[in-house]
């Protein structure tokens, strides 16, 4: 394990130091004094564990492929945006657009997520232990989006093939979002995901998998149809 102190260094220097350590085969990097700085640990392409000992700003872990990143505090907008693979875990809460456009990997947020969680996501698994803000899952294309707490307004609006699960209440569904039944096999799978990715103490406070609501696209926006005019008019 190596430690890098971000205090007094530019973001460019910090990221270069992280990359250099990883290139030197260091598998565990701890970043001290992150100071909620933007663009920490972006575009890391190696299998290494990066622990951010504090909070991070925008785009933490953006564009990564492979590493596991842990933020001990909270994270700003665009957490892990466009990641291909790897894991990003936030112990606190995440700002808007967490897991935006991710194509793979896993994002786990122990606290809450703000607006537009998983917007345009294209794959992967996104788990929020707490609540999420409005328009989560907007235009989401593939992958799995799980919110253990409550979901804000316009949930799962204009989705393609992402499957969402909500443990608490949904303020309201977005255009073309529909509730679908969860069968036993699916509940089992959901449980497996939750118990794999959430610490046991956190998992135990959340609803049973079978009690989650499943939300998918009603597919009315997939192809234009004049009979669905109202849906299109109201589409966000």
């Amino acid at each position: 394990m190596v430690e890098i102190d971000a205090a007094g260094r530019t973001t460019r220097e910090v990221n270069r130091a992280i990359r250099q350590r990883i290139a030197e085969s260091c598998k565990e990097v701890v970043l001290r004094n992150p100071g909620a700085r933007h663009n920490l640990a972006v575009a890391i392409l190696e299998d290494a564990h990066i622990r951010i000992a504090g909070s991070a700003g925008y785009y933490c872990g953006g564009l990564i492929d492979g590493p596991s990143i842990e933020v001990e505090g909270s994270a700003g907008w665009g957490l892990a945006e466009s990641m291909l693979s790897g894991t990003v875990r936030v112990h606190g809460s995440a700002g808007s657009g967490a897991a935006a456009a991710v194509r793979g990997g896993t994002v786990v947020i122990h606290g809450d997520a703000a607006a537009r969680l998983g917007v345009s996501m294209k794959g992967g698994i996104v788990i929020v232990a707490g609540n999420c803000g409005y328009m989560a899952g907007f235009m989401a294309q593939k992958g799995t989006l799980i919110v253990c707490g409550n979901a804000g307004e316009a949930f799962a609006d204009s989705m393609y093939a992402t499957v969402c699960y909500v443990g608490g209440e949904i303020a309201n569904l977005g255009t073309d979002a529909v509730i679908a039944p969860i069968d036993a096999g699916e509940a089992q799978q959901l449980e497996k995901i939750l118990s794999t990715h959430l610490p046991a103490t956190l998992r135990s406070t959340k609803p049973a998998a079978a009690d989650f609501k499943k939300v998918v696209a009603g597919r009315k926006l997939w192809n234009f149809d004049k009979r669905e005019w109202r849906t299109w008019q109201e589409a966000l």
Binding site: T11, R12, N39, I64, D65, G97, A100, S120
Partner: protein
């Protein structure tokens, strides 16, 4: 008997349009770009003032006139170096066929120029065949892949397009084939409406952070372009420069498209002529003219349009539609197939159907075969080279040893409006109107 008279307001075309909307319940979607007669000032409202006694021309066919074009000198470690100032714009694999993408890449490379990915990510064959590849990052983020970004020679962060500023891309279900669906992570056959806003930033202030992220992701090596659909160009260009762009692309309302609502193509945005003038003033007013390079797009047809855009302040031009025409778009061949989609040679704007008769804007393997990559690449190369020769001829006649030395002073306006917009004197006067 008096002749029967059509209404000028409810002209036959308007009647047809209303009845089509009444029938289909959908607004018109099509490709190509604005079809209207241009009643607004265009590059045609300018004329060059070559040397006579007050200036000395360079020998037309002999003396050196450099066309070397360097873009991204502001922050990037490795600015782009092109042999010519005409570049192939971003057109998605999805809107375009595989063969079209590869032919454009190969043609551009052969001419010493660049090509750009598009709203669907990078095609490996595109990278393999290009010399300089610009990687677009669009609101949809289809196909976004850090490894591809790292292979690119520049990144273009797209905020909007001239044909449809303020709205996202469209790819109708007929073109969302299995390969395209896979590349974009979409279900096969959906009418794909891309996002208009980026998913992870909203305005110019957080875009500053986004630009920094892209730089960090590519270690500050390659230039970052910001592409704008021409709207409030003067302010937008300042904001893009503030966000840290190395290069700003402004795409005027004449800009082409693979598919968009027709009303956007006809009734939104600033014409390219006005856009280049506003963009130049914006950069001048913040003291970054020359430091931030400017690329102009939208309806550029030949070296004349390009030379005029450059004289007004552009460092380079992007061409889209003209490059497709070089690939045989709208050529009179396979005429039955034009008719089958309700088009005709010279009057085809049916890229949205996915049934392009000449194999350019289709995902149908049989139609695509009609565009032979090697031939297509050759025509693209020839066309880029001819455009460059045209720019050089005009530049030499204006006494310039470098095409980038063309300046507003080399032109006069043929209309009052063009004089006011471009800040050049109206022909027959020594006055710049409106200034």
């Amino acid at each position: 008997m008096a002749e029967l008279q059509n209404s000028a307001i409810f002209a036959p075309r308007v009647i047809e349009e209303i009845q089509a909307k009444a029938e289909s319940g959908l607004y018109a979607i099509r490709g190509f770009g604005t079809l209207r007669e241009r009643r607004w000032p265009t590059f045609d409202d300018l004329t060059f003032l070559p040397c006579s006694l007050t200036r000395i021309p360079l020998e037309g066919y002999r003396e050196k006139c450099s066309t070397k074009t360097v873009l991204g000198t502001r922050f990037a470690q490795k600015p782009i170096q092109l042999d010519i100032p005409v570049m192939i714009t971003g057109m998605s694999w999805g809107a375009l066929s595989y063969n079209a993408k590869v032919a454009l890449a190969r043609g551009a490379a052969a001419a010493g120029s660049s090509n750009t990915t598009g709203d669907g990510g990078m095609l490996k064959a595109e990278r393999d065949n290009s010399r300089t590849l610009i990687y677009e990052v669009l609101p949809s983020r289809y196909g976004i892949n850090i490894h591809h970004m790292r292979m690119a020679d520049a990144i273009e962060l797209t905020i909007g397009q001239g044909a449809k500023p303020g709205t996202g891309g469209l790819l109708l279900g007929t073109k969302v084939s299995d390969r395209i669906a896979e590349q974009r992570d979409l279900p096969i056959g959906v009418d794909q409406r891309s996002a208009a806003r980026h998913p992870d930033f909203l305005g110019p202030d957080d875009m500053i952070i986004k630009v920094e992220e892209l730089r960090e992701a590519t270690d500050w090596q390659i230039p970052i372009f910001i592409k704008l659909g021409a709207s409030r160009v003067y302010d937008d260009v300042k904001l893009a420069a503030k966000a840290g762009a190395d290069v700003i692309v402004v795409d005027g309302m004449e800009g082409g498209t693979g598919a968009s609502p027709a009303i956007f193509q006809e009734h939104t945005g600033l014409p390219t002529l006005a856009a280049v003038c506003e963009a130049r003033s914006a950069l001048q007013d913040i003291g970054l003219y020359g430091d931030v390079q400017l690329i102009i797009a939208g309806g550029i047809r030949d070296g004349v349009d390009a030379a005029k855009a450059m004289a007004l302040g552009a460092d380079a031009c992007y061409i889209g539609t003209a490059s497709l025409i070089a690939l045989n778009c709208n050529k009179p061949m396979y005429e039955d197939d034009y008719r089958a989609i309700g088009a005709a040679p010279y009057a085809c704007h049916h890229c949205h159907t996915g049934r392009c008769p000449v194999g350019i804007t289709t995902q149908d393997p049989e139609l695509m075969k009609r565009l032979e990559v090697e031939d297509g690449a050759e025509r693209v190369r020839n066309f880029l080279q001819v455009m460059t020769l045209e720019i050089q001829m005009l530049a030499r006649s204006c006494g310039k040893s470098d095409v980038h030395h063309l300046e507003p002073e080399d032109m006069a306006a043929l209309s009052l409006e063009a004089s006011a917009i471009c800040g050049v004197p109206l022909v027959g006067t020594r006055k710049v109107f409106g200034h």
